[in-house]
Amino acid sequence: MKFRFGSPVLDTAVRLLTPFILLFAAYVVAHGHYSPGGGFQGGVILAAALILVNLVHGRDVRWGLRPSTSLSIAAAGLALYVGIGFLAIAFGGTFLDYGALPLGLPPPQVRAVGTFGIEVGVGMAVMGVMVLLFDALMAWEQSR
C-alpha cells in the first residue's frame, strides 16, 4: 500500500509488536528439529512481521524489501538446503545424510545440527516467497 493508515494506535502497536514477532520467529525456527516448530512455521511468522509493517507504514518505509531482494533470499535459502544435501554427498553419504557430515559430534547431535541447517534454509526460502507473494498481490492494487 502506498498510503499509511496514519493512526497513532496502529503505529504504536506495530512498533511494540514487531520485535517480539521477529524474536518469536527466530525461536520457532531454532526449535524445529526437536520440538514443534520449524522452517516453514518460522518463515511464515517472519514474513508476517514484514507484511504487518508494510501494511501499516506503507511502501515508503525502508522496511519493505524489494522483490529482487526477497527473491534472492528465497533462492539463498533453497541453495542452503540443497548445499547441505550436496555436502553430505561430498563426504560420502547419500543426499541429505547428515550422519556423513564431519562435525565430530555423536550421531543424534550431528543429525540435529544438519536438520537445523536445513530448517534455516527453509525458513529463509519461505519468508522470501511469502513476501514476494504479498508484493505481487499488492502490485496490482497499486497500479489501479
Binding site: 533453497l78 554427498i89 545424510d97
Partner: protein, 500 residues
C-alpha cells in the same frame, strides 16, 4: 557422482529452478542457458540411471541414509528409468523451443517461464523415481502448480482455463492424499514397496478399498480419463506452444505411470485392484470413442489435438485394463509413442499459429507450401497417431489389439479400430487442407493476436522452432522402426515386476 544419479536427476532441475530467476535479474540469456544446462544434465542422469538399472537390476537409493520403510527411498527400475528418460527428453526439447514462444506477448518473462519449466520437469521426474507415496503427492503438486502457472501464460482465456484446472487438479490431488491416508491407516506405512508387502494382510478390506477408490479417482482426474476430462480441452487449447507440448505429452503419461504403479505393483493382483482395472478399461474404451468423436467436431486445431489426447489416454488405460502382457506392452509403447507424437503435433501447431496466425483447421489451407518443414513434421506425427506402419503408433496399437484378442474383448478391439479410423479422418482433414487446397486468395486478415506477434511472417519458422519438432518427428519414426529393440530392451524388463 554417478552413485547418486536418481537423486541428481530430480535435484538438478529443482536447484536450477531456484537459481534461474535470480540469474535472470541480471541477464535473461544467462538464465536461459542455465536452464537448458540443468535439463541436459537431468537427461544425462536419467539415461545413465536407466543403463545402470538395465544392467544391474532395480536401484534403491536411500535419502538421508535412513533404511526404508522409515526413510524415503528413490526406486529406479526399468519402468521408472524409461519414464525418466522420456520426461527429460521432452522437457529438453520443449525448453529449446520455448525461446521463441516466450518473447513478446507472454506475460511471464523468460527467466520465470524457464524456471517454471524446470520446476515442472523436476516434479515429474520426482514422481517417476520416488518410492514413497507421500513424496509422490508432494511432487504431484509441485508439477501441477508449475503447470497451472505455465498454462496461464497463453493470454486471457488461458488464465480462466488454468484457474479451472487448478480447482479441479487440487481436488484430485486431495483425493489422492486422502486415499493414501486410508492406506496408512490400514497398514501403517507409506513406502510403496512396504505397502505392497503389507496390503495382502491388511485387516480391514473396506479401508483398503476406500483408499484404492480415492486414489484411482484422483489419478483419473489428473490424467483426464473420460468422463473426468472436462478441464483438459480449454487448458491445452489456449496454452503457449511449448507448454502445451510438454504438458500434453508428458503429464498425463506420468499420471498413467502412477496408476500402473499402484494397481500393478502395490495393490495385490486381482480382487479390488482387478475390479478397479475393469472399470478403468470401460472408461478407457469410452474415452477412445468419445474423444475421437469430439476431436472430429472441433474447428480449432489445438482443441482438436486436446480432445485427441483424451482419446489417446484411453488407449493407454485400455491396455492397463486388459492387463495381459501384450496389452501392457502396447500401453507402455503407446506412452512413449504418444508423448513424442503429441509433443511434435503441438509444437508444429504452435509454429503454424505464430507464423501464419492460423488457429483453425480451415485456416490451414495451402500452408503446406508455405511452411513445408512444419507441415512435414505434422504429417509424420499424424501418420503415427493414426497408426500406420512404419511409424511407432502402429506397433503400440498392434500390441493393444493383440492383447484384446487374447482376452476375447471384442468391444475393445472395436473401440481401438473405431478410434484409429476417426483419428485418420480428423488428421487427414488438416493435411488435406494444408497440401491440397490453395491458400485462400483474400488471405483473410489473421487474428489480431498473431498480427501483432513477433514471429508473424512469410516462410518457414526460424530454426530454433524447427529443430526440436524435427527431432520429435524423427523419434516418432525411429520408435516404429526400432520398436522391437525398445520392447525387448526396456518394456519387457519394466513389466517383469508386474504381479499378474
Amino acid at each position: 557422482m554417478s552413485a547418486h544419479l536418481p537423486v541428481l536427476m530430480v535435484v538438478l532441475p529443482l536447484a536450477g529452478a531456484v537459481v534461474v530467476p535470480v540469474v535472470g535479474l541480471a541477464s535473461a540469456r544467462a538464465a536461459r542457458a542455465l536452464a537448458l544446462l540443468a535439463l541436459v544434465l537431468a537427461h544425462l542422469c536419467a539415461v545413465g540411471a536407466l543403463r545402470v538399472v538395465l544392467a544391474n537390476g532395480t536401484w534403491r537409493y536411500r535419502l538421508g541414509g535412513w533404511a526404508p520403510p522409515w526413510g524415503i527411498e528413490y526406486v529406479v527400475d526399468a519402468l521408472a528409468g524409461g519414464m525418466a528418460v522420456l520426461v527429460s527428453f521432452v522437457a529438453l526439447l520443449t525448453a529449446l523451443h520455448a525461446r521463441y514462444s516466450h518473447e513478446g506477448r507472454n506475460p511471464l518473462n523468460v527467466a520465470t517461464s524457464h524456471a517454471l519449466h524446470l520446476l515442472l520437469a523436476a516434479g515429474l521426474l520426482g514422481i517417476v523415481v520416488t518410492g514413497d507415496a507421500f513424496n509422490l503427492y508432494v511432487f504431484l503438486e509441485i508439477s501441477a502448480l508449475s503447470a497451472y502457472a505455465l498454462l496461464a501464460g497463453g493470454g486471457a482465456r488461458a488464465e480462466v482455463a488454468a484457474f479451472r484446472y487448478l480447482l479441479i487438479g487440487t481436488v484430485a490431488a486431495s483425493f489422492y492424499l486422502l486415499g493414501i491416508g486410508y492406506l496408512y491407516a490400514a497398514t501403517g506405512t507409506l513406502n510403496l514397496a512396504d505397502l505392497a508387502a503389507r496390503l495382502p494382510q491388511a485387516p480391514d478390506a473396506g479401508v483398503v478399498g476406500t483408499g484404492l477408490a480415492l486414489i484411482v479417482i484422483g489419478l483419473a482426474v489428473k490424467i483426464a480419463l473420460f468422463p473426468l476430462h472436462g478441464w483438459l480441452p480449454d487448458a491445452y487449447a489456449y496454452a503457449p506452444a511449448p507448454t502445451s507440448a510438454f504438458v500434453s505429452s508428458v503429464m498425463g503419461k506420468v499420471g498413467a505411470y502412477v496408476v500402473l504403479r499402484f494397481l500393478f505393483f502395490v495393490f495385490p493382483a486381482g480382487g479390488q485392484a482387478g475390479r478397479a482395472l475393469d472399470l478403468l478399461g470401460l472408461a478407457a474404451a469410452a474415452a477412445i470413442v468419445a474423444g475421437s468423436v469430439m476431436a472430429l467436431a472441433q474447428r480449432d486445431l489445438r482443441r482438436m489435438l486436446a480432445y485427441s489426447s483424451v482419446a489417446q489416454t484411453g488407449y493407454i488405460m485400455l491396455g492397463f485394463g486388459l492387463g495381459n502382457a501384450a496389452a501392457l506392452t502396447g500401453a507402455l509403447l503407446h506412452v512413449v509413442n504418444h508423448a513424442v507424437m503429441k509433443a511434435c503435433l503441438f509444437l508444429s501447431a504452435g509454429n503454424l499459429l505464430a507464423r501464419t496466425g492460423a488457429a483453425g483447421v480451415d485456416e490451414c489451407r495451402g500452408v503446406g507450401a508455405r511452411l513445408p518443414v512444419t507441415m512435414g513434421a505434422f504429417g509424420v506425427a499424424a501418420v503415427s497417431m493414426i497408426g500406420l506402419p512404419p511409424a511407432g503408433g502402429f506397433f503400440s496399437k498392434w500390441y493393444l489389439v493383440q492383447g484384446a484378442l487374447e482376452r476375447g474383448a471384442w468391444i475393445y478391439v472395436a473401440a481401438i479400430v473405431a478410434g484409429s479410423a476417426l483419428t485418420a479422418v480428423y488428421m487427414f482433414r488438416v493435411l488435406e487442407a494444408a497440401y491440397f487446397r490453395p491458400a485462400a486468395p483474400s488471405a483473410a486478415s489473421p487474428p489480431a493476436e498473431a498480427a501483432n506477434g513477433p514471429l508473424f511472417g512469410p516462410g518457414e519458422a526460424p530454426a530454433g522452432m524447427l529443430v526440436p519438432m524435427l527431432i520429435l518427428a524423427l523419434a516418432a519414426l525411429g520408435l516404429g522402426v526400432f520398436n522391437q529393440a525398445l520392447v525387448d530392451g526396456v518394456v519387457a524388463p519394466a513389466l517383469a515386476g508386474v504381479a499378474s
